[in-house]
Symmetry: C2
Subunit: 209 residues, 2 copies
DNA sequence: CACGATACATAACACTGCTATACCTAGCGA
DNA sequence: TCGCTAGGTATAGCAGTGTTATGTATCGTG
């Protein structure tokens, strides 16, 4: 029997991998077309690097989407919880919207094929922060007979809808401040919160105070 | 001064124009890649037809988006108003969602660049039906101190968000029935409707009864 | 009927993502 | 220390994309 001891040769450079992802994200936020050759040229490598690291452009897009979700989760994690869980939910929504508005092209690319991420858990981490705050609202008696995951999903979906309509230019920019807090208040009130108290909490959280 | 009477020669064939739009929409709903050559081949014309009629692929996409909004508006117009404006709003939402679910690729393409449509008025016609129903809810005393356009926008944006998350596979298919009526009820209740009466109206409208 | 402007067909261009091939560098065993 | 080897990287070419230049056919007009 052939018992050949295989050698372990050179390994792909992780720096090239992150450079490609970050360059692609940078070109995305700069509204430049993200082409294979332009990307490789900017990073200073050959087009083949995209294939050794990501197995082609679709793989690169997956990595870029994942990086977008990771940045989003980091942005949400910076929101420090307070003793008002409804305010925290609104603050998370404001941070979410701010992240999307800062790099709209990246946000839109994230949801082009958000279903097949290399590591879905990374995206779930951000959503878990919403569910956690909703759970605290239930525990605090602000939400009654409400499923925290359902409330978080509805809050997220409504914010996502307003965001996309604003980012695509269908709604004007000020529609974010006009409709997002109102939708949040509607969702949280429907979950059982007192309307006036809810409105005050959302106002505080959305303003970031 | 040269006063040359210009002749008006042959005019582009409108049938080719509509054939290109409908073929593109058909390939879109069939999840086939809509390429210039494949499109021209299916229609039985040359690639140049796309340029004489639409000045290139971006122009064709604009026409396809407009056709999508026109179909959507036709689908919404089929919803017959009743004496319950809140039910009508929910019925419009259900028709809207059904239209989007039937051809998801077309719906997503519509909002890829919905801001610059050849004729924005066509898209506004569908939205006007929502505003009209909201106005009737105000007139009927169901909504109090509510701006019909704002209510319609929030209803639309929340439904749009759920739809896109479902169409992109982030949320499961049954999320539509689970969250869309609940969001509608939240929005309409926030506009002043009685919670229980609102829930009944939304249930009736969403079910199409 | 003849003219001429224009829709349409054909072919070539620049660009895209991708792949086959050559090189060459990193790491192990002798 | 040195040679071997496996895999990362560079180069060149491929099929396919949208676009454009050029030729041809056709219709409305005088």
């Amino acid at each position: 029997m052939l018992c050949i001891v295989r050698q372990v040769p050179r390994t792909p450079d992780p720096a090239v991998r992150v450079a490609l992802i970050e360059q692609a994200a940078a070109m995305l936020v700069a509204r430049e077309p993200v082409t294979l050759r332009a990307l490789a040229g900017r990073v200073g490598t050959s087009t083949m690097a995209v294939y050794t690291h990501f197995d082609g452009m679709p793989g690169l897009w997956g990595a870029v989407r994942q990086e977008g979700f990771a940045r989003l989760a980091r942005g949400l994690a910076e929101v420090s919880p307070s003793d008002d869980p409804v305010r925290d939910l609104a603050a998370l929504g404001a941070a979410y919207a701010a992240n999307a508005v800062e790099n709209p092209a990246l946000y839109r690319a994230m949801f082009d094929a958000a279903a097949d991420l290399p590591d879905p858990g990374a995206a779930g981490a951000g959503f878990a922060l919403l569910v956690d705050a909703a759970q605290r609202a239930v525990d605090a008696g602000r939400f009654v007979d409400a499923d925290p995951a359902a409330v978080a999903t509805r809050f997220w979906a409504s914010g996502h809808g307003v965001l996309l309509l604003v980012l695509s230019g269908v709604l004007p920019d000020d529609a974010l401040d006009e409709h997002s807090p109102a939708l949040a208040t509607a969702v949280f009130t429907a979950a059982g919160d007192d309307p006036e108290r809810c409105a005050a909490s959302v106002r505080a959280g959305w303003a970031g105070s």
